[in-house]
Amino acid sequence: MKFFSSRSTVIAVLTVCCGLSIWGCSGFLKEVDPTNLTKESFFTIPEHAESAIAAVYADTRFIGDYAGSFSANWQLLEALTGTSTTESAENASLNNLYSLVHDGNNRHIVNWWNGLYRVIAQANLVIENVPNISPMDEEQRSKIMGEAYFLRAWAYFYAVRLWGDIPLITKPQNAGSDDFFPQRTSIEEVYALIVNDLVNAESAGLPWMDKSGRVSLAAVKSQLAMVYLTMAGYPLNKGNAYYQLAAEKSGEVITYARANPGILNLFGDYSAFRDPSRKNELEQIFMIQFHGSIVPNMQGLFTRPNFKPVSVTNTGVGTTVPTLDFYNSFADDDLRKKDKTGFFYTSYYTNGSGALFSLGGPYIFKFFNTIANGAPGQTGTGVDDLNIHQIRFAEVLLVFAEATNESTGISDDAYEALTRIRTRAGLTTAARNSFSKETFREAIWKERWHELCYEGITWFDMVRLRKVYNERTDRFDDFVGHVNLSSNQTLKDRHLLLPLPTLEMSDNPNLRPQNPGY
């Protein structure tokens, strides 16, 4: 064997050694992600707790996220009630909800499941890890824990009302977690966690109101009152004791409001709902936070008429618009019905600020942002800064009135709570002694339907009471057998719960059985 040159051999050996030296670096195939943290490197200083709770708040916005073309997730809670309909059929998932033929593949239903459990997972991360951060100011720690407890309860409260028995996850998950493939937990146990979380949040040192939109003590107490009220009704039927708890808890909020009317109160009129500068104050106890230059709210897009020029942006798809029956069920002198004043409008200005034109029917004005869309003499900005409503003081008043009436019968305070809502609407209320317990009950229910419409509340009233307001008779039908006037479809037993998402059931074999009727 004849070598060409000894130099060739030397160079070859050197080159190979040079290569092998890379191999010598044992770290060559090791990977460290420079853009993301690991759990081990996080939750070490108080700022991490602030960052973690921010992620929980961020995920609450799923309610406003898209659910396919022309629709958002919040519309699930309106489509089922029969008080609204759609001017567009582009979204099969939404169509099926309106027609009450939804199944476990329904995109809105899947999005709610995914969205709520994501909030729960984020909250679990805070609840598990923030107690271990050291050193940390205890007051700061307690508040953040309180916010996390509230937000976890908020999510579970939605979930248990929508699906009944559901997985109860209280620890951060990894692929090896014991409850990674959870079974369904009973409604009773889920409510126990909700109440426990809210009681924990109540003592966390949160301020009564918080203009920044963070969880406040008023939000915790109001939510607890609503939880008790729901537990008193279907499906747990815990009855009187829980009506009493609901009355006490909402009473605490009302007592505070009476003493601090500049902090917690009803707004003087409905225009404040549409005013971005009045977010998170006075009547607005808890809201989903948006901001036009950070994350704009798309709610207006879905409630504006289908391509009628009511806005500078000239876009609206009309996938949640009032049924005529529901609109007509308001008294003619009800300010909430008054064009461009209360909750509806039947005419508007061309492209937001031009000539007035008739819309040919009623549309939702409750969240119509005149700054974004335009008003006479004022071109719209196109940017919607409004928040999505969650808890208003008006609802607390109605919870108090209902809970009091159910537990101890009509009282001065309960009567006053109802009349405050009606007075603002420009309505007179029959004298207190003209009401029986039964007529007072229905008067409160009806007020809930009217005052709280299109805020994601009516559906849960239908399920909790198993009663539905009949817009034509002005009375209450039983849930089963009521015909939703939006689609002429009849409510059946199975509609009391949503189907579990089909994919979730196949990804988790322990999640069974499916809710009845699906």
């Binding site: 195939l29 420079p34 169509n95 027609s99 459990y117 994350v295």
Partner: protein, 1023 residues
């Protein structure tokens, strides 16, 4: 000839060896040829830069001289000391030397399935991208050119799909260096392309070979021979065949009238309540800018016509090659300016390239390549809006009003509030600037006779800017103008060492072995900013600080690395029985700690039957080779860090009207994440008839992919959506056949035909997830369009079945259905879907697999004619059995009178025309329905006239008087006809705008950039 050689070996055995030397020259140019393989008795050497060689052989040995593109020559030594030889340019493919991974091989010695395209073939179809040049050329390789945008937008699949949501794209290797960015290589610099298809060929690229490997060889200089080559072409586009047809102004208004009248039928209650009074078209046709006093339209605009331009594109390519005794170089410069069919779209490319090779010593050769490309383009179809609005622009609007302002659909009451397509084209920019610097250097050291060591160091440095801006006038949601800047950089380097050993152990056995190792590392960094609300349109994206709202900013970094060891042995006995064994061990940073390394082996056998005595003298069969191979390759094209558990710091909370960054759940860990593997078997036959006048090559293959990488769904109760893991398996099986025929061949006239056909069948065998996988690899439109289901082809189209339109006779049956149109009852004239589960409700449970975007078969038929100095090429391409899923049907047919529609709506259902498949026209607010269904699915089989090219080479006697070696003039007509089902709206070879990222998007139509017919003239001069 081979037979002679074989017998010579036998005679030469046991004789004394002596040195033979000589010079190899090109018969045409008389120049010495570098790199010619000289083989005798299994040993090989290469000629040096001036074409000389020397080697030790027995006195009776036969020397074989071979080089890419030349006829091989065999010359018995007959005890001579000097053997000089002239090589003729090749006319048959068999003697070609083809590039394989880490080496070259004569085509006749191949044991695997390798497709090869020569420079001459590439020249027949001038194109701006490599993939476009490949389309239809090689069986088993499916290239879809899915957009008419300058630069195109292509999908390449070699033998079907191997993966669910890892990549299905082949690996590109340019001059031995793996690359992720072949999109920016200049096609004129390419001298040949090889495509490795079976596992025996691809396994040498182990982990990255599962989707096939495309080897690109670029031009290099030749010593002692200088040439200047200049090529220029100019072209212009016109609208291509089978463009969709839209309503004109009169027809649109007629449809709107009918739609209004039918409200009474479809929403009688709303009609009676007066809800639609304002909707009366008579009340809305009052704008004096658009209508006369009678309500007749003043304009009739053809938006497609308005949106297109016919500007001249030009392409200049200058190449100089040269060399002295031991050194050679090649320099090229290019400039391309493609002006798109759609206004404002363009692509410009500037490129420069330098290669050098130096035989420093007889044992040492070094060389390198440096390439720089700068490409800038305006991608008007990056967002669907501009192209969609061409389809949906109201035809009675002018482009601009007499006062110079843009018209818009929103000017007309109750229309969908969209803007003017031409305004979009001029006032939206999506500028993509890409700078690519590629470099590689190599050294080749001959350690001793037969043993060489090659070291290659390659690097690529790509910086890419995506700059976008939208004018204030195009604000839909009050943005008041927006702009974004997205800059990224990717650095890649690789270092390969490999030893090649060539020897014959005796005259019977010869062996060629290769052993090597490789390191690769890629790191990327990117930054992005976007902002809204600008005081002026002046800045565009050039002063992003001038914007004031909604700032979004971020940056990211990532890195991955590979470490590999590979080897190959080619063994041949009597030059008839050929065996190849390869193996590669690959380690990747992307996998779990326990599974970083994997081994990918392959083996192949070939038998040159025509060299057996019983066929040697056969007058019909001139070549017959049988081959079979089996091997395993891998796929690792997943994002880095997929196996780690991470938190995500990308959450944005709004608190106190401030943006607050949040950190929360990110990714689930999977320390067991491992390689996706594809095992492939292949049986092939190569047959040459009548002295290889007819050459046939056929392959049968079976590929099975296991441990598919997937973002598999997990219970969402965990808060997580997916975990990246290995699930299930999938198969592809197929047939490939290529026939090359020289039908007529004489001095004046020749006619050659190439035909190829490929058939591939894909099936998902198992999924480790319990359920179907939907929403992966396709598009989520109204519903997810694609489904992955056991037993069905991967990524099948999924939807409802449209049975027709409910007839008057079926009124009662229709009424039983729960409403699927705005809550209103189902009536005759509404769409009738198949109620699969019989529950009288149309839901997701009624959705089924309805089609597939992959063809049953595809290929090309190319005829080439030459008559004296004239050449004519007719290049046809076809595919059949592929479905097109027209997602544009929802807005262009199923709903009307919100925006313009396809002309097909004129044939909608009426009580007099009950056999229509199109629902009765009605105002959308009176209840309609849109669902992905079988009516949106069309048979996308097609035959396309891809290229018609005519060339004339001036007689050399004439040109040489001017000092010109060759002067060739050519004309080309590309995409000159299309045969396709009448029902298909537009081009069936398509991916909808914005859907490119999906693995299974092929055939999903949604307002793609229309494909032009291109007229081209060019001149090629060399001297």
């Amino acid at each position: 000839m081979l037979v002679v050689a074989a017998s010579a070996y036998v005679k030469g055995m046991a004789q004394e060896k002596t040195e033979v030397r000589g010079v190899v020259r090109d018969a045409e140019t008389q120049q010495g040829m570098a790199g010619v393989t000289v083989a005798a008795s299994g040993a090989t050497v290469k000629t040096d830069s001036i074409g000389s060689y020397r080697m030790e052989v027995g006195p009776n040995a036969v020397l074989t001289f071979s080089s890419v593109g030349y006829e091989s020559v065999e010359i018995p030594v007959n005890s001579r000391r000097v053997v000089d030889v002239m090589l003729q340019k090749s006319t048959t493919a068999l003697d070609q030397v083809v590039v394989i991974g880490y080496g070259t091989q004569r085509k006749s010695d191949l044991t695997g399935s390798v497709g090869s395209i020569s420079e001459r073939t590439l020249k027949e179809r001038p194109a701006s991208s490599v993939n476009e040049m490949l389309a239809g050329r090689i069986s088993g390789v499916q290239v879809n050119v899915n957009s008419g945008r300058p630069g195109g937008f292509t999908n390449v699949r070699v033998r079907g799909f191997s993966s669910i949501n890892s990549s299905n794209d082949p690996l590109y290797v340019i001059d031995g260096v793996m690359t992720e960015s072949m999109g920016f290589i200049n096609p004129t610099d390419i001298v040949s392309i090889e495509i490795l298809k079976d596992a025996s060929s691809t396994a040498i690229y182990g982990a990255r070979g599962a989707n096939g490997v495309i080897l690109i060889t670029t031009k290099r200089g030749k010593s002692g021979f200088s040439e200047v080559n200049y090529n220029v072409d100019v072209s212009t586009p016109t609208l291509g065949p089978n463009m969709p047809k839209y309503l004109n102004a009169r027809e649109y208004l007629q449809v709107e009238d009918i739609a209004y009248r039918n409200i009474e039928k479809y929403d009688p209650v709303g009609w009676a309540d007066g809800k639609y009074e304002l909707r009366n078209p008579a009340l809305n046709r009052t704008d004096p800018r658009l209508f006369d006093s009678e309500g007749n339209p003043l304009y009739d605009t053809d938006w497609m016509d308005e949106a297109t331009q016919h500007r001249i594109s030009q392409n200049h390519q200058l190449g100089i090659t040269g060399g002295s005794d031991s050194r050679s170089y090649a320099v090229s410069l290019g400039y391309r300016d493609d002006q798109g069919l759609i206004k404002t779209s363009y692509m410009k490319r500037y490129n420069g390239r330098l290669t050098f090779d130096d035989q420093v010593r007889d044992w040492l050769k070094v060389g390198g390549t440096l390439t720089y490309n700068y490409q800038t383009e305006n991608r008007v179809d990056q967002d669907y809006l501009p192209i969609r609005m061409i389809a949906e622009g109201l035809p009675f609007l002018p482009v601009k009003y007499p006062d110079g302002s843009w018209s818009a659909n929103r000017d007309y009451p109750y229309a969908e509030a969209s803007l003017n397509p031409i305004q979009y084209l001029y006032e939206r920019k999506y500028i993509l600037n890409t700078q690519t610097a590629l470099g590689n250097i190599y050294s080749n050291i001959r350690l001793f006779e037969g043993l060489e060591m090659r070291t290659e160091l390659g690097t690529s440095n790509i910086t890419q800017e995506i700059n976008t801006s939208v004018s204030r006038g195009l604000s839909i949601m009050g943005e008041q103008g927006s702009a974004s800047v997205n800059n990224g950089r990717t650095n890649f380097w690789s270092l390969d060492h490999y030893f090649t050993y060539n020897n014959s152990l005796s005259d019977v056995h010869s062996i060629n072995a290769m052993l090597g190792m490789s390191w690769q590392e890629s790191s990327a960094f990117g930054i992005n900013v976007s902002v809204q609300n600008f005081p002026s349109d002046y800045f565009g994206f050039n002063n992003i600080g001038a914007g004031s709202n909604n700032p979004i900013y971020g940056s990211g970094a990532s890195r991955f690395s590979f470490n590999s060891y590979f080897g190959r042995v080619n063994y041949s006995m009597f030059n008839k029985y050929l065996l190849t064994v390869t193996g590669r061990i690959d380690g990747s940073s992307k996998f779990g700690d326990n599974y970083k390394y994997a081994f990918f082996p392959s083996a192949a056998l070939a038998w040159r039957v025509s060299d057996e005595p019983f066929l040697r003298q056969n007058e019909v069969v001139s070549n017959l080779k049988l081959r079979m191979s089996y091997g395993v390759t891998g796929n690792s094209e997943i994002p880095p860090y997929s196996s780690l558990s991470l938190l995500n710091s990308g959450y944005i909370a709004v608190l106190g009207d401030q943006r607050v960054g949040g950190t929360g759940i990110g990714r689930l860990a999977n320390p067991d994440l491992r390689w996706e593997k594809t095992a492939q078997s292949d049986v092939g036959v190569e047959l040459g008839l009548f002295n290889n006048r007819i050459a046939i090559e056929g392959d049968l293959y079976y590929r099975k992919t296991t441990d598919m990488l997937l973002d598999a769904p997990v219970p969402r109760s965990s808060g997580y959506a997916t975990i990246r893991r290995n699930v299930g398996s999938m198969e592809n099986k197929g047939i490939e056949l290529t026939v090359n025929s020289r039908n007529i061949e004489n001095n004046a006239f020749s006619w050659k035909t190439t035909f190829n056909i490929s058939m591939n069948r894909n099936k998902v065998l198992s999924l480790a997830t319990p359920s179907d996988i939907i929403g992966v690899g396709g598009v989520v439109f109204i519903n997810p369009t694609n489904i992955i289901r056991e037993g069905a082809p991967v990524g099948s189209f999924y939807g409802l079945i449209r049975e027709g339109i409910w007839s008057e006779a079926e009124r009662e049956e229709a009424a039983k259905f729960a409403s699927y149109r705005n809550g209103l009852p189902i009536l005759p004239g509404d769409i009738k879907y198949r109620d699969v589960n019989g529950d009288y409700a149309i839901t997701d449970a009624d959705r089924m697999i309805i089609g597939n975007g992959s063809p049953d078969g595809w290929g090309a038929l190319v005829n080439e004619f030459t008559y004296r100095n004239w050449g004519l090429t007719v290049d046809l391409q076809y595919a059949y059995g592929n479905d097109v899923f027209e997602l544009s049907m929802g807005s262009s047919e199923d709903r009307v009178a919100l925006a313009n529609s396809y002309r097909t709506v004129l044939n909608a259902w009426t009580p007099e025309n009950q056999h229509s498949i199109i629902p009765e026209l009605r105002d959308t607010r009176a209840g309609y329905v849109i669902n992905e269904d079988t009516h949106w699915l069309k048979d996308g089989s097609f035959v396309r006239g891809r290229n018609l090219a005519l060339s004339y080479t001036l007689p050399s006697g004439m040109t040489q008087r001017w000092g010109v070696n060759q002067l060739r003039v050519y004309a080309s007509l590309q995409n000159f006809f299309l045969i396709v089902s009448d029902e298909v709206n537009g081009d069936p070879e398509t991916v909808g705008t914005g859907f490119g990222a999906g693995a299974f998007s092929q055939g999903l139509t949604y307002h793609a950039y229309p494909k032009p017919t291109l007229y081209m003239l060019g001149v090629n001069v060399s001297f």
